[in-house]
Amino acid sequence: GRYSLVIHGGSGNISRERMSLEQEAVYLEKLNEALQAGEAILKEGGSSLDAIVSAIKVLEDSPLFNAGKGAVFNYEGRNELDASIMDGSTLQAGAVAGITNVKNPITAARKVMEQSSHVMLTGRGAEQFAFEQGLEIVDPSYFFDQRRWDQYREYLRNSTQLRGVADPDNKMG
C-alpha cells in the first residue's frame, strides 16, 4: 500500500527578502492543495498517472505559477503553453508545445500519449487534436494574469532587443 507524490511549482533565484510571510503562506497553501488532490487518488489505489494529472491541474489553474492560468507572456504578448507526461510502466509518453487555448495542457499531453501514435504535437495541430479529443478549450484571455502582464511590460522596457535591433551598449533609450 506504499505510495509517494512529489510536486514542484518552479525554481529560480527567488529572494526570501522579496517574499512576505503572507505571500509565502499563500504559495505553501496552494502546494498543499495540489498534494491533497493527488494523494486522494493514490490512497484509494488510483494510478500514478491520474494522481500527477490531478495535482498538476491544481497548479495550472492557479495564477501563482508559470503554467496554465498565470503563465508568462511571449514576445508578442501571448501565452504559449507546453506540457509532457510519461508512464513508467509502459515507457509511453505524450507532449504538446506552443498551444494557446487548452485550459489544462497536461490533459492534452496525456491524450497525445493515450489516443495518438505520436509523442509530441505542436501549435495549431496540437490544438486541433485537443479539440477533437473533447478537451476543454478556452479563449486565450483565460490565461491572463495582471502580475505576469506587468512583468512582460517590464521585460519589454528593459529588453536589449528594442524594436528588433540588438542594442549592444544596452543603452536604455
Binding site: 509517494s4 514542484h8 518552479g10 525554481s11 494510478s47 498517472l49 500527477i52 508568462v72 501565452n79 507546453d82
Partner: protein, 134 residues
C-alpha cells in the same frame, strides 16, 4: 513551470510537467518541459523525474533521462544521481534549476541549485512537507 511525479500502490511511476515557458520568448522557442528525457521522464526500473529551470541546459544535458540512466547503469541511488546532475554537472555549466523525483521504492529527491524552488511531497507513511527556500 509546474510538475508532479508519483509512485502508486501498484508500483507504477509517472511524471508530468507543464509550463508557460520563458517571458519574452520568440521564434517559437521551446524549453525542456515538453521534451521527454530532458524535462520529464519515468521508468519503473528507476525513477520518475520532472524538471524546472533554464530549459536549454536541461535539453542539452538530457537531465531527466540522465538521472534514470545513472541509477540503472551506475547503480547510484536517486539522491546520488540527482545531486550529480543538478548540483554538479548543471551547476558547473551555469544551468540554473532543479528537479523533483521519486524512485521505485518511494524515495524522494528535490535538489535545486537556485535560491528557491516551490516544492512538496506526501507519502503513504503520512510524512509530508512543502517549502520554497533551502
Amino acid at each position: 513551470t509546474v510538475g508532479a511525479v508519483a509512485l502508486d500502490m501498484h508500483g507504477n511511476l509517472a511524471a508530468g510537467t507543464s509550463t508557460g515557458g520563458m517571458t519574452g520568448k520568440r521564434f517559437g522557442r521551446i524549453g525542456d518541459s515538453p521534451i521527454i528525457g530532458a524535462g520529464n521522464y519515468a521508468n519503473n526500473q528507476s525513477c520518475a523525474v520532472s524538471a524546472t529551470g533554464h530549459g536549454e541546459y536541461f535539453i542539452r544535458n538530457v537531465v531527466a533521462y540522465d538521472i534514470s540512466a545513472q541509477m540503472i547503469y551506475l547503480g547510484k541511488s536517486l539522491e546520488e544521481a540527482g545531486n550529480a546532475v543538478v548540483m554538479e554537472k548543471l551547476k558547473e555549466q551555469g544551468g540554473d534549476g532543479g528537479i523533483i523525483a521519486v524512485d521505485k521504492d518511494g524515495n524522494v529527491a528535490m535538489p535545486f541549485n537556485t535560491t528557491g524552488m516551490f516544492r512538496g511531497y506526501i507519502k503513504s507513511t503520512g510524512e509530508t512537507k512543502v517549502s520554497i527556500f533551502e
